[in-house]
């Protein structure tokens, strides 16, 4: 076997977004030799695009807020399909994790009393999101990045992991390649933390970047782990729709949290027409009450624009389909007529900038045109709630790549807090696992490295003529049209067939040039993950015959509390690599937590 570059660690974290960096910090502080491996430069991960804030019941503005209310909001927002224990840990630990960022130098916006300010967001009973204007993700990643650098954690930038290596059933390491040179590198490590984010690049209209190709989901599957809830995809209600170049680009929920409203082409605040039974008791039914809520949350109910994202996205979709959309196929998001220009520029500087620069729209003067965009996958690697461990010994997952926490729909702001809470837990437990192993370290099998390298290099001499960019585009079209916001059996069948065809065609992928910084080749390798994950999503979505959260079936429009409300769809790879699916009972919360869910507000 040729000599490859080799590195030995106790914990290798794949991904350098919020959860990856938080995991690396935790593992390092626990005494593990730790490395972070990431596809982009440090500080560019998708977390940087998070805008609104970090949900944490600190109670800085509303002393009545506490972890129990946050837990309740999270579970109800997830349509009760969340792993209750994850939701509990998340609600309890989020405040500590936010203060930790402040301890490391983060500068959040302040209240009048000098505490961390908190803002309103959909589905949250109280103003709860710690934020910095509308660039909270940047603050978070920079703080974690600076902490990582300060601690001296090794970071392998622009390095892609293609396969996890196992010794028997246990994790033994990872195989990757440097994007800069195309040369392979072997990481020998008993513990791997997957922190690779999501899968949104498989949809055409998406807020996600090129990195979001479901690498962690696919690596986990291929290593023998299970995926949970893959049918639940969050379409964020407000993405830009025009110009075409920026279609899908995120428009933060803070616009609505800070007073913005949705209107159709007739000028009507249509969200009042879409309040579901499930949220009726806690949602305002007049504009007057909704407007009073911003200042008096005790005596008024939340505006319907701040219903959970799945509800708002479906409503917008319906308005557009009914012919009441905006000129470029969205609806109007209006904050200009409701807040002063100074307020808007202060609270939403990055939105102001984004619309000015990219659409020549001044959001302090005119409404924005927006529509749903693929944003987040609730589904992910099935993990133990306390330790973030998957079913494969030594393999952990945290953040978007992990499943269970958000149930059928994630509340805005709960992602950044999720990254911190479970990133830390994953890092700590991975370090503990590595330390328990001691001298009995697993060994990376040479033959698996050889096979991994051969597979990765296949596109250079496949003899085929398929263009990776074209395959990706066809996949995006199929997922957008056939496994989008509203789903039907026949369409998903067609999507599956398309995915299988594309998998077949991708055996004949051809790339030009050499291995040095070659995006065509890099994409060819990412495609393998995209296609596998897309197949998992389509299969799971066909299986769940009900509508709930980020999974809406035209042919099964009702939410089924008796059967599907108690089931998770689990995906795993059978022998030979076939995607296999089974149902699994959802863990039930203990009575004291279940009681919280019934509380009216």
């Amino acid at each position: 076997m040729p000599e490859y570059e080799r590195h030995t660690y106790d914990v290798v974290v794949i991904g350098a977004g919020g959860s990856g960096l938080r995991a690396a910090i935790a593992a390092h502080e626990a005494g593990a030799r730790t490395a972070v491996v990431c596809k982009s430069l440090l500080g560019k991960a998708h977390t940087v695009m998070a805008e609104g804030g970090i949900a944490a019941a600190m109670g800085n503005l509303w002393p009545d807020d506490n972890w129990k209310v946050h837990f309740r909001d999270t579970m109800r927002g997830g349509k009760l399909l969340n792993n209750w224990r994850m939701a509990e840990l998340h609600a309890k630990e989020a405040p500590e994790r936010v203060w930790e960022l402040e301890q490391w130098g983060a500068l959040f916006d302040r209240t009048k009393d000098g505490l961390i300010s908190q803002r309103d967001f959909g589905g949250h009973r109280y103003a709860r999101l710690a934020h910095v204007g509308d660039r909270t993700g940047l603050e978070m990643i920079r703080t974690l990045q600076q902490r990582t650098v300060q601690l001296g954690v090794d970071v392998y930038m622009e390095c892609t992991v293609t396969d996890l290596m196992r010794d028997g059933d246990r994790i033994a390491g990872a195989l990757g390649y440097w994007r800069e040179s195309g040369r392979f590198v072997v990481f020998e490590t008993p513990a791997v933390v997957l922190a690779t984010g999501g899968i949104g690049k498989s949809w055409k209209v998406t807020s996600n970047s090129w990195e979001y190709t479901g690498d962690g989901h696919a690596l986990a599957l291929r290593a023998g782990a299970t995926l949970l809830n893959m049918e639940f995809i969050q379409f964020h209600p407000t993405g830009m729709v025009w110009p075409p170049s920026v279609r899908g680009l995120l428009v933060t929920e803070s616009v609505r949290g800070d007073g913005g409203v949705l209107r159709n082409s007739e000028g009507r605040r249509f969200m009042f027409d879409y309040i579901p039974e499930f949220f009726k008791a806690e949602t305002a039914d007049t504009e007057e009450e909704a407007d009073r809520w911003y200042d008096d949350k005790k005596n008024n109910r939340r505006p319907p624009e701040l219903l959970p994202r799945d509800e708002v996205a479906r409503a917008i979709n319906s308005e557009i389909k009914a012919g009441r959309g905006s000129p470029h196929g969205g609806v109007f998001l209006d904050i200009a007529s409701r807040r002063s220009p100074e307020y808007i520029e202060k609270r939403l500087p990055s939105m102001y900038h984004q619309f000015m620069e990219l659409a020549e729209v001044d959001i302090t003067r005119e409404p924005m045109e927006i529509g749903p965009t693929c944003h987040y996958v609730m589904g992910g690697v099935e993990v133990d709630p306390d330790s973030a461990a998957s079913r494969v010994p030594g393999l952990y997952a945290a953040g978007e790549v992990a499943g269970g926490m958000h149930g059928a729909n994630r509340l805005g702001g709960n992602s950044l807090s999720d990254l911190l809470v479970f990133g830390r837990r994953a890092g700590e437990h991975a370090a503990a696992y590595a330390s328990e192993i001691g001298g009995g370290r697993p060994v990376v099998p040479d033959e698996d490295v050889t096979v991994g390298v051969r597979t990765a290099l296949a596109p250079f001499d496949s003899g085929g003529a398929e263009n990776p960019y074209r395959i990706q585009q066809e996949l995006q079209d199929a997922m957008q049209d056939l496994v989008g916001i509203i789903r039907r059996e026949q369409e998903m069948q067609l999507a599956l067939k398309t995915i299988h065809d594309l998998q077949e065609r991708s055996k004949a992928l051809a790339v030009e040039g050499n291995r040095q910084y070659n995006p065509g080749w890099n994409l060819a390798l990412d495609l393998r993950n995209m296609l596998l994950v897309a197949e998992a999503v389509a299969l799971a979505a066909m299986e769940r015959k009900e509508s709930r959260g980020g999974h809406t079936r035209d042919d099964f429009p009702m939410t089924d509390y008796d059967f599907w409300g108690k089931r998770n769809v689990v995906i795993e790879l059978a022998g030979g690599g076939a995607v296999h699916l089974r149902l699994q009972d959802l863990p039930e919360p203990p009575p004291e937590l279940a009681a919280l869910l019934e509380e009216p507000h």
Binding site: M49, Q103, S117, S245, Y517
Partner: protein, 250 residues
């Protein structure tokens, strides 16, 4: 409306290269990065370029467009004159890896040299109490997306590799300024930034401010106040007096 657009893109690696013309169909409302992606997908699958968010938030797609350092994702095609090719070259201050991708590790080395935030003895543990008005100055600098355009354009290092050793560059001067202005930071980095990080080499031509996509007033709000603070510390007569009496470790 679709039209034919010619991009003149530098292609090559550390051993050399040159401009290559590509003509693709472009649309109103697109940005330079879209056109580069069209070239990649249709004509040159192996053309190296960095990008991530495509929304001006991550600072990855920095390049020199018609000679001007900028983010390709914020360079709208409608702002260029039709019929003329758009020339795209890699950042000149950093060594080329391939095509539009440069080796920006210089910046990560400088980042490692920054002494981290250190809370004061008065408020050693978060949650801290800090007034909005007091955090705002540092918040401006924390808007930085690390696109390295200010570093690229800075003439202290743009054509003077030998200055790189002793010069951290505008991005890091505002990082030091940010920490210096943090209401709960205890460390004094003024002497360090002046003497070891090259603040003294900056002669405030404001080129960095001009290219900043976040419109951070790097020179006016960061570098000049830092220079003033350094001078204050050096020549503050009260402190000098105290120091002579051995009362203050400046």
């Amino acid at each position: 409306m679709a039209y034919d657009l010619t991009l003149r893109i530098w292609r090559g690696d550390a051993s050399g290269g040159g401009l290559v013309d590509y003509t693709v169909e472009a649309e109103d409302g697109e940005v330079v990065l879209d056109a580069v992606h069209h070239v990649q997908a249709q004509l040159a699958g192996d053309m190296a370029v960095r990008w991530n968010c495509k929304a001006g938030k991550c600072g990855s797609c920095s390049a020199e467009v018609n000679g001007r350092p900028r983010l390709m994702c914020l360079a709208r095609l409608s702002t260029f004159s039709r019929g003329e090719p758009i020339t795209i070259t890699p950042l000149r201050t950093f060594p080329v890896i391939r095509d539009l991708v440069t080796d920006v590790s210089f910046n990560y080395r400088k980042a490692e040299m920054v002494p981290a935030f250190t809370p004061t003895a008065e408020q050693p543990t978060a949650p801290f109490r800090m007034a909005q008005v007091d955090v705002e100055r540092s918040q401006e600098f924390r808007k930085c997306i690390e696109c390295w355009l200010c570093q690229d354009t800075c003439h202290v290092i743009r054509d003077h590799d030998d200055n790189k050793e002793a010069f951290s560059g505008p991005r890091f001067f505002i990082r030091y300024a940010e920490l210096d202005m943090h209401p709960n930071d205890a460390l004094d980095r003024k002497k360090l930034v002046q003497e070891d990080r090259g603040l003294g080499l900056c002669n405030i031509t404001k080129c960095c401010t001009e290219v900043c996509p976040e419109k951070i007033k790097i020179t006016d709000n960061g570098i000049i106040p830092m220079k003033e603070r350094v001078v204050d510390v050096k020549y503050d007569p009260v402190r000098l007096f105290r120091r002579r009496r051995g009362g203050d470790d400046v």
